[in-house]
Structures are given as structure tokens and as C-alpha cells.
């Protein structure tokens, strides 16, 4: 009884194996004949038209609305959430004596882009941006000030 079973599996494995090989070829041939699926970006040449994935983490940004206002209240939760002291929130007082944001300092050379500050923010004031060209000639250039004006808008 053993021989037919062995023969059966032999032919079954041969046929299934051949089909599997053909399936593999169809996948690679499919990629080969569809250049639109190529993911490579020709970066320095296509800098103007470069489209990055929306989830790409390049830097921490603070979005400003059309009046130049931001949502930051200076609560320093992001500063406390940051594992490597990338963020310093320097607060000041406005005319009414209320504590408001003075300078939001973001040291991009220390940032690991972990995104904990964005998760910590209760006011949705900071986001992850797509910008990635962070080369600087001076070390001071890495200390960015994210807010454009003092206080909350």
C-alpha cells in the first residue's frame, strides 16, 4: 500500500511545486512590466515635485493658522514627555499677568522623532512634519524656535 501513496505525493508535490514557481514568476513579471509601481525617488532632481508619505516623520512642527496663531498654551507636557530634552518651553507673562508661551525651543539635533511629545499634547498644537532637509553649517542652527509669536493666539 505504501508505493501508491509515495507516488501520489511525488506527483502532487511536483505539480504543486511547478505551480508555485509559476506563481512566483507572475509576481516578479507583474512588477517588471508595471513601472508605475516603482517606489524609488530621484531625490535631488525631483526635489520640487517630491511627494512623501503623510506618515513620514521628519521633524516636529507647530502649525499656525491664517492669522499666525498657534494652539500652544505652554503647559510643558511635551517637555516632560520628551526622553532626551529636545524641547524647552520657556514661558512668560502677558499684560494680564497670565502665564503664556514665550519661546518653544526645539533642538532638532537631539530629536529621535519618537513622537511622544505629539502624543502628550492635549491641545493638538504640535505635529510631525515631512521636512527632512536638516543639514546646517552652524551648530546653533539646530535650535529651532517653533512659535512665531509669544503667547497664545
Amino acid at each position: 500500500m505504501a508505493a501508491p501513496v509515495i507516488l501520489d505525493t511525488y506527483f502532487k508535490r511536483t505539480v504543486l511545486g511547478a505551480l508555485g514557481l509559476l506563481k512566483g514568476m507572475s509576481v516578479t513579471l507583474g512588477y517588471f512590466f508595471r513601472p508605475s509601481r516603482i517606489l524609488t525617488e530621484q531625490y535631488p532632481e525631483n526635489r520640487k515635485t517630491l511627494k512623501l508619505h503623510p506618515a513620514f516623520r521628519g521633524e516636529v512642527i507647530m502649525p499656525h493658522d491664517e492669522n499666525g496663531d498657534h494652539k500652544c498654551t505652554g503647559c510643558t507636557l511635551c517637555e516632560k514627555a520628551c526622553p532626551n530634552a529636545t524641547i524647552s518651553v520657556l514661558n512668560t507673562k502677558n499684560i494680564a499677568g497670565k502665564k503664556v508661551l514665550g519661546k518653544y525651543i526645539y533642538r532638532i539635533d537631539q530629536c529621535t522623532l519618537c513622537g511622544l511629545c505629539i502624543e502628550a499634547c492635549p491641545f493638538d498644537a504640535i505635529h510631525m512634519g515631512n521636512g527632512f532637509e536638516h543639514a546646517r553649517t552652524q551648530r546653533d542652527g539646530f535650535d529651532l524656535i517653533l512659535n512665531k509669536k509669544e503667547g497664545r493666539g
Binding site: L21, L29, F32, I38
Partner: protein, 370 residues
């Protein structure tokens, strides 16, 4: 002058040279230069094409920076390779160490010498062309084993043994498939094998021998991939998993020669596959099946296709087969060494023996397509 029988260039030289020995030398030099050009010339382009195929199958672009579409990338690589230091390992057998890279190259050049590129473009046409090919292609194995042995490195030796076992095993089934084609065409003369496929596509051996032809072709491609030490059967090198195998200790030009031999071997093997199964230098011609309304149209299309010279068709078929080899390499995962051996000795060898027997039966009962 009947173009299908004369030796065009050779006869021309013999006609205008004063002594016969002058003609012999001139013809020899022309032959060597031609083989070198055919073998070495396309290799940089093939390396570029391989990298492009690899990239496109993986949704990448491949080399794009040097020259248009990265065409000059290989030139840069070759220049870099030639300027590197040629290191001889301590305690290596120097003579064998530097002889070894030349042997695979010699073997592939000798195979290229008997391949008919056109009706009168063939360096030599021995009556026993196929046994000659089987004999000289073994030089590659010798080079591999010598390279591993003379490197004075135990890992090189292990790689060479692995590679030698693989190449010797697959040469058995490769030779059997060649014998199958010899059986079908009734001649061991490479040129006669091509001329036995004259007519349209259905006269090529891949179709002319019903079912057997396509099975033989598939098995030829599998055995040739293993014989060439290319992926998925590149256990001798296995860049991602092992050290380089038999050429671990080679650098600079010696390594370049192994690398070159791989690509020239690929050209030679594809040329042989095209000669054996795809009609060699004969032009592609559609069959009309004797169907009256299309006979005229098919005849005119075939006439237009036949205008292109034979070496163009040969080159086209070779390029197609090489691209197929490249697709194999970039599609399939690498099997284990024991799986490779069982594929050869438990599957391909019995299948080839059955194929040979069936071929004889088909010929005896006249089952070959007219």
C-alpha cells in the same frame, strides 16, 4: 556563392593571402578577436541589464546616476575592480591560484567557438560539436576546484567542493538533454541541429517534438541555471548567507575573471539553448497551418521577418533566455544543498532518462511533427 555552405570570411582570407600559413594565422586571429568580442563585449551590458531586472522586479530603479539610465555604471565598476590590489594569500599555490580564473573563461570561449551565429558566421564546425561542447564546458569545474584548492583556505576548499559537486551533478542531466536533441535531429553537428529546424515556429525542437520538446527545454533551463552557479542554485557563492565560496581569496582582476566567466558562460548556455530548442539563427516565422485565408498574409509577414540577418535573431533569442535566467535568479529562494542534489539525482536524472527513451519511441513511431 551559396551562402548556406561557404565559409565566407575564411575563404576570402584564403583567396587573397599568398601562403596557406598566412591565411591560417589571419583566420585564427580573426576568430580569437571575434570570440573575445562576442564574449566580453556584451558582459558589461548584461551586468547592467541584470541590475535593472533585479531593480524592476523589486519595484526599484537600479543604477541611474552614471550615464543615461546608469548605462556607464558597469564601466565604473570595472575600472574600480581593475585598480584594486591583487592579493595572493599566504601559502597559496601561486601557479594554480592564477591559472584557476583562466580555466572557466577558456571553457566558455571554446563553447562560443562552435556556436553558429549565422549561415556563415561560425568559427569552427566540428562534426562532433555536441560532444565537444560537453567536453570543454567541464573546464569550468576544473577552474572552480583549483581555485578552492590553491587558495590555502579551508572555507574556499569547502565552497569549491560544494560547487564542484553541484556542477558535475547537473552536467549529467545537461548532457542527457543535449543527447536528446542529437537523437531528435539525427546529428551531433551544431550547425546541422539548427538547420534541422528550418521552417516556421512549429519546426523548432521545443514544439516539433510534441510535449517532449517543452519538457526538455524546461529541464535544460533548470540544469543550466545550476550549471552556471546562478541563483536560485548559487550555493557555491550564496552572498547573503555564506562567504563567497571558492573565490573568497580572489580580488581585483582575478575576481573579475570569475565574474566575467559567469556572464560569458550565461551567453554560451543561452546560445546553446537557442540552437537546440529555438531554431538558432533561423528567423522567427509564424505557422499558417495550411489555413487558406491566412497563407498569403503569414507568408508576407514571415518574408518581412526573414529580412533581418541571422545573428540578429540569434542575439534576440539569447537576450530573451538570459532575461529568463535573470528572472529565475531574482524570483526564487535558494534551496539547501541536499535539496539541490536530490532534485538532480532523484528527479531530473530519471526524468531525462525517460525523456531520452520516449524520444527514441517517438522517432521510431514517427510521432515527430512534420
Amino acid at each position: 556563392m551559396d551562402l548556406s555552405t561557404t565559409n565566407f570570411i575564411g575563404d576570402l582570407v584564403r583567396e587573397y593571402s599568398p601562403y596557406s600559413w598566412v591565411a591560417s594565422i589571419v583566420n585564427g586571429v580573426i576568430a580569437i578577436v571575434a570570440i573575445m568580442a562576442v564574449g566580453v563585449g556584451p558582459s558589461p551590458m548584461l551586468i547592467w541589464w541584470e541590475r535593472k531586472v533585479a531593480a524592476f522586479t523589486q519595484a526599484r530603479l537600479g543604477p541611474m546616476r552614471v550615464g543615461p539610465w546608469g548605462l556607464l555604471q558597469t564601466v565604473c565598476d570595472v575600472i574600480k575592480l581593475l585598480f584594486k590590489e591583487l592579493i595572493t594569500p599566504h601559502g597559496a599555490d601561486k601557479l594554480l591560484f592564477f591559472l584557476a580564473p583562466a580555466l572557466p573563461l577558456t571553457g566558455s570561449f571554446l563553447v562560443l567557438a562552435v556556436i553558429p551565429w549565422d549561415h556563415n558566421l561560425q568559427v569552427a564546425n566540428p562534426g562532433m560539436g555536441v560532444p565537444f561542447i560537453i567536453a570543454v564546458s567541464s573546464l569550468g569545474i576544473l577552474g572552480t576546484l583549483l581555485a578552492g584548492w590553491s587558495s590555502n583556505n579551508k572555507f574556499s576548499l569547502l565552497g569549491a567542493l560544494r560547487c564542484g559537486a553541484q556542477m558535475i551533478s547537473y552536467e549529467v542531466s545537461l548532457s542527457l538533454i543535449m543527447l536528446f536533441v542529437v537523437l531528435m535531429s539525427g546529428s551531433a553537428d551544431v550547425r546541422e541541429i539548427v538547420l534541422s529546424q528550418q521552417g516556421n515556429v512549429t519546426d523548432w525542437w521545443i514544439i516539433k517534438a510534441p510535449f517532449l520538446g517543452i519538457a526538455a527545454f524546461v529541464m535544460y533551463m533548470i540544469s543550466a541555471t545550476a550549471e552556471l552557479n546562478r541563483g536560485p542554485f548559487d550555493m557555491s557563492e550564496a552572498e547573503q548567507e555564506l562567504t563567497a565560496g571558492f573565490h573568497t581569496e580572489y580580488s581585483s582582476t582575478a575576481f573579475a575573471m570569475f565574474f566575467l566567466a559567469e556572464y560569458i558562460n550565461m551567453v554560451a548556455t543561452s546560445a546553446l539553448a537557442s540552437v537546440f530548442f529555438l531554431g538558432g539563427f533561423l528567423p522567427f516565422a509564424f505557422p499558417d497551418f495550411g489555413f487558406a485565408p491566412i497563407v498569403g498574409v503569414v507568408a508576407s509577414i514571415n518574408g518581412a521577418l526573414a529580412i533581418l540577418p541571422g545573428f540578429f535573431w540569434m542575439a534576440g533569442k539569447i537576450l530573451f533566455l538570459i532575461t529568463l535566467f535573470m528572472f529565475f535568479r531574482w524570483t526564487y529562494p535558494r534551496p539547501r544543498v541536499d535539496q539541490l542534489m536530490s532534485l538532480e539525482w532523484k528527479f531530473l536524472l530519471p526524468a531525462n532518462l525517460i525523456l531520452l527513451g520516449l524520444g527514441a519511441v517517438f522517432i521510431a513511431f514517427g510521432l515527430i511533427l512534420p
